[in-house]
């Protein structure tokens, strides 16, 4: 199709209302292949909602979303197909507590990708090694630290060979000393050329990894730009105010 965008993610005029609450009021953005877009903003600004609309965890009230040239619809087959290509990492990890780390990473490979047990296990071990905890394969989530749990969650998403990775405040629920181990994994992913959309409050990560930074407030994009310009010379008064509050 001619009008299908060539970007990995293309969002056109996205609107999302929760009852009377207008979470997102017309947001348009694109993420090109291999690029990292970091979305920042105060809580309640709609940044997580935008992310959750991309894999249809929230169904948009209006607007269009294209993922890898495929338009997102309400059709279940379409949604499941897109979700298998889009990995997401949550603030609360959401590991499956009844399965080991390896079991967590294997489940969707077997059920969705229909991989054989041996193949799924081999890939799971590769991904655990990739996030730096190959020795935790047979451990249950409750016995892992927060940082380790989040790394298993990243490995679980990566094992599906996603074309895009979404991160919804991946370090916000972590103790301070565990944030770095997760950010390091994300940084390595970005360097490897993974297409990423990241909602975070970690400005260090945004500065180092982002190709573009998007600042949202009250359901709208206030400002966007490269890290240098965004942090060095923001145009909008609201951006300056926000940055002055979080950069001490």
């Amino acid at each position: 199709m001619d009008d299908a965008p060539r970007d990995m993610i293309a969002i056109k005029n996205l609107v999302k209302h929760f009852g009377h609450v207008q979470a997102v009021n017309g947001v348009s953005l694109t993420v090109a292949q291999g690029k990292v877009v970091v979305i920042i903003g105060p809580s309640g600004s709609g940044k997580s909602t935008v992310l959750r609309c991309i894999n249809h965890l929230e169904s948009p009230t209006g607007g269009e979303i294209w993922v890898d040239g495929i338009k997102l619809t309400h059709d279940h087959k379409n949604i499941n197909a897109i979700r298998a290509e889009v990995g997401i990492v949550f603030q609360q990890f959401n590991l499956f507590p009844h399965l080991t780390a390896l079991g967590n990473i294997m489940l969707a490979q077997r059920v969705v990708r229909k991989r054989k047990r041996e193949e799924a296990a081999r890939i799971a071990r590769q991904q655990l090694a990739r996030v730096g905890i190959p020795e935790k394969a047979d451990v249950y989530p409750a016995q892992l630290s927060g940082g380790q749990q989040q790394r298993v969650a990243i490995a679980r998403a990566l094992a599906m060979n996603p074309k895009i990775m979404l991160f919804d405040e991946p370090t916000s629920a972590l103790d301070p000393e565990m944030i770095k181990e997760v950010l390091d994994v994300m940084l390595a992913l970005a360097k490897e050329g993974m297409t990423m959309a990241v909602v975070t409050h970690e400005m260090g990560f945004a500065r180092n990894a982002a190709d573009e930074i998007i600042f949202m407030d009250q359901g709208l994009i206030v400002e966007r730009g490269t890290p240098d310009i965004f942090f060095g010379n923001p145009r909008e008064e609201r951006t300056r105010l926000f940055l002055s509050q979080i950069l001490h």
């Binding site: 965890l57 979700r83 298998a84 949550f90 969707a108 059920v111 989530p141």
Partner: protein, 290 residues
């Protein structure tokens, strides 16, 4: 003994040991007391001619009691799971149908449900079959198998099992619903975001955790089913209660017979209840946090 009186050498681990020990002692005391009383009663029964006779009569129904309990319970689990899934469904029609079923079941006494299934629903069902058979007589012939069916084809035992299944299906549905709702929303989101369908997420992520959480209530419901299986005696199905009633009718030995009947139920329900409590305790200590 409170903490202040504990020896100075007491460490957190010994304090934990004491706590664990106390609850274990109570459990074992119960078991020993009951087992001892039970043995005494058995000896008394074995040495008494009349009680031996009554036991011989009443125990003839034990296979039926266990059969009704097991079959109705496991069928009720199947219905309960399906209806329970309906109770958490986002589809309005499915949700409302499931809710209607649960509301009706929970609002009518089980005894009345047994009468209703046996003497209203079953005949009505066969009237319907016959009507269909008559309507299709042109196609299938006047003596087709549908027209030949009769309410008498279904034994009162089968009707009793169906009635208990339908009744307990409603209760188990609420148990499963509670279990499913005890699992955080994030689990479903994580499973769905990995590309799983709703039913795959239920099957592999939600239900394994939900069922684990509701094992104790499911176990209690099994004990309840064992007790409620005595209701089938109103249909003349010869479980242990009916055997006892038959003996009483012939002998007028009310106290001896009903003591014996109660004794036999207790001998089944108390060990089962203890097994459920043991299961509960094991889960409490071994529970894995989300």
């Amino acid at each position: 003994m409170d903490a202040a009186m504990a020896p100075i050498t007491s460490t957190p681990s010994t304090a934990m040991w004491r706590q664990w020990n106390l609850s274990q002692v109570r459990w074992w005391v119960w078991l020993i007391l009951i087992a001892a009383a039970d043995v005494l009663l058995f000896v008394a029964i074995a040495r008494d001619e009349l009680y031996t006779l009554i036991f011989g009569k009443v125990q003839q129904g034990i296979v039926l009691t266990l059969f009704v309990t097991l079959v109705a319970y496991f069928l009720a689990l199947a219905i309960g799971l399906i209806v329970g899934l309906g109770r958490v469904s986002k589809n309005g029609i499915i949700y409302n149908l499931a809710t209607l079923y649960v509301q009706i079941i929970r609002g009518v006494p089980i005894l009345v449900q047994i009468f209703f299934v046996s003497f209203v629903a079953t005949p009505a069902f066969f009237e319907l079959l016959k009507a269909i058979g008559a309507a299709l007589s042109g196609v299938l012939g006047p003596d087709n198998f549908l027209a030949q069916t009769s309410t008498q084809d279904v034994s009162l035992l089968a009707r009793a099992v169906v009635a208990l299944t339908v009744a307990y299906g409603g209760y188990e549905a609420e148990t499963f619903r509670a279990g499913i709702e005890s699992i955080g929303r994030g689990q479903m989101e994580a499973a769905r975001s990995l590309g799983m369908s709703y039913f795959q997420a239920m099957r592999y992520v939600i239900l394994p955790q939900a069922v684990r959480n509701v094992l104790p209530p499911l176990g209690n419901d099994f004990v309840s089913m064992l007790k409620d299986s005595s209701l089938v005696s109103v249909l003349g199905v010869r479980d242990i209660t009916q055997e006892a009633r038959l003996y009483v009718a012939a002998s007028f030995r009310y106290p001896e017979t009903y003591y014996m009947l109660a004794f036999m139920y207790l001998n089944m329900t108390i060990p089962l209840s203890m097994a459920v409590r043991w299961l509960e305790g094991r889960m409490g200590s071994g529970r894995r946090a989300a």
